[in-house]
Symmetry: C2
Subunit: 312 residues, 2 copies
């Protein structure tokens, strides 16, 4: 443990945003020094409530996150937003005429926004997102929102890092069906029907509610709530926060939240173990042997066995 | 190698569809006997051309796949479709009033359709999809199409299994922008602007083409083609097939296809190695130690090191 890293973790615990940003960059860059600092901070991890915001593209997730953050601020929360999106409006990424939507929450001292790129980090993203959230948790942010881009491989993984998962939909045709296809129905604790001022919004809400009630429920299980919002106008955001808090209260009964977090933490440690092993195993020598055997058109299973046998 | 498994692989090489279906089910169920049969078949793997069909929900991927299959059949190809979607129209999965779209290709002897569920198979899906494709390749199907649901974690992985990746879009607002966000732009070899009879289709194609031309290109790189289709009417499908064949011809120059497939195969063997290791490592005893240490709120990195130290 270096003096430098000690002081970095101390600074983070004292709320130093620049120290915070520096550690997050190290995490994103797979800097070896990040791990010991994360270990130092770990005693302070576990206080923040974690919300996942996901849904198909165009559902208004960024706007919902923005407005929800304002409400949380008014309730006295310190809010950190982890936008898993290379072109997040929060970072001002402008693409193909995508408007730079400047947000008042960016100017708020009690809000910390971090954008994480999805490209080129297949698989490792969920682990990094959890590490970033752990640091923000230790730094004293009381609510952490994961906002995903809505399409891509790591989306469901990232949502598994949340205590309450919000799935945003719009009334347009087939959105709910597509959500079911994508497995979003199973992960949602709260549904938002955003752009609820559009035609057919009530019909879409009814169809969604009907399909939710069809599923098996018991007194021990949570029936996902459906909230109508018009995020651009700020409508329905208080109700969304109420629904999130109701789910939180549900989880806090009978130690469900503790159990859920333990399971999550076990999965996280498993991913840490597997990444450490992977890094140690795939030496240049083994990669070369792999390459040669592939060129010889050997069966993948025989190659795998040969490589693992030399290991043990 | 049992007599039974020998005869199963022989039957598959002779084109027996029931034997084929049986092996695919074993693969999906993680049946231990599948691996030795896959090894036996491996000498016959590598002849089929593999096409990935992806894009956002509602872009008409199923219809495109269906029509493309008909054209490939007329060109004398034997076609296998791997629909990575729990509610694929090919399997007649009806959900929330989703119409069962019966397809004439289902009745064609030269077409084999297999649906793979995405739910509950986080991570392992890409590996299984490759194994299913390898079996179909060995069984004599000359073109294999991976069709993804368009939202979810394994989508990009599955597409990495393809020689040519087709990304389907519709002219609607923001679709291309969302595709860029989701990383679909980088993986596309051919773009389809489907439902091209809609208003603004030409504008959407122009915007897409313009953004493609902005990217850096050299004589050695492939400039993705953009094809307009109205899949429900069968319009533009011949042009889509031409674009796919042009990309194939490009890959077959200068051994690019061989090199791409070798890289793919290396990645696949790596995933086989890692899964074998994972299965061997996470014994009930290690899981119990993991659980206990998590309850004690130990740092994830210290737990990981402790578990790995006992291993080596």
């Amino acid at each position: 443990m270096s003096e430098l890293s000690q002081s970095l973790s101390e600074k983070i615990l004292q709320g130093d945003k620049r120290a915070l940003a520096r550690l997050l960059t190290r995490i994103e860059n797979n800097d070896a020094s990040a791990e010991s600092i994360l270990s130092e901070l770990y005693a302070n991890v576990g206080r923040a409530y974690r919300i996942g915001m996901t849904g198909p593209p165009g559902a208004g997730k960024s706007t919902l996150t923005n407005k929800l953050t304002r409400h949380l601020r008014l309730a006295g929360e310190k809010v950190a937003i982890i936008a898993v999106d290379p072109t997040s409006p929060f970072t001002g990424g402008a693409l193909l005429g995508d408007r730079v939507r400047m947000s008042d929450v960016m100017l708020d001292e009690g809000v910390f926004i971090r954008s994480m790129a999805t490209r080129g980090s297949l698989g490792g993203l969920a682990k990094k997102a959890t590490e970033v959230a752990d640091v923000l948790d230790a730094a004293g942010y009381t609510t952490i929102i994961f906002e995903t881009v809505g399409v891509g491989q790591s989306e469901l993984d990232v949502v598994h890092a949340a205590d309450t998962t919000v799935v945003a939909l719009v009334p347009e045709s087939g959105d709910a069906i597509q959500a079911m296809k994508a497995g979003l129905m199973e992960i949602a604790d709260v549904f938002v029907m955003n752009k609820a001022d559009r035609q057919d919004a009530d019909k879409a809400v009814q169809a969604l509610s009907a399909s939710l009630e069809l599923r098996q429920h018991s007194a021990q299980s949570w029936l996902p709530r459906v909230v109508k919002t018009v995020a651009t106008m700020g409508q329905g955001i208080a109700e969304l926060l109420q629904a999130i808090n109701a789910h939180r209260a549900f989880l806090e009964t009978d130690a469900r939240l503790t159990e859920r977090r333990r399971e999550r933490q076990q999965n996280f440690v498993q991913s840490v173990v597997e990444e450490k092993w992977r890094q140690a195993f795939w030496t240049a020598q083994r990669m070369e042997e792999l390459r040669k055997r592939v060129i010889q058109h050997e069966s993948p299973y025989k190659i795998a066995e040969a490589l693992l046998q030399k290991h043990s």
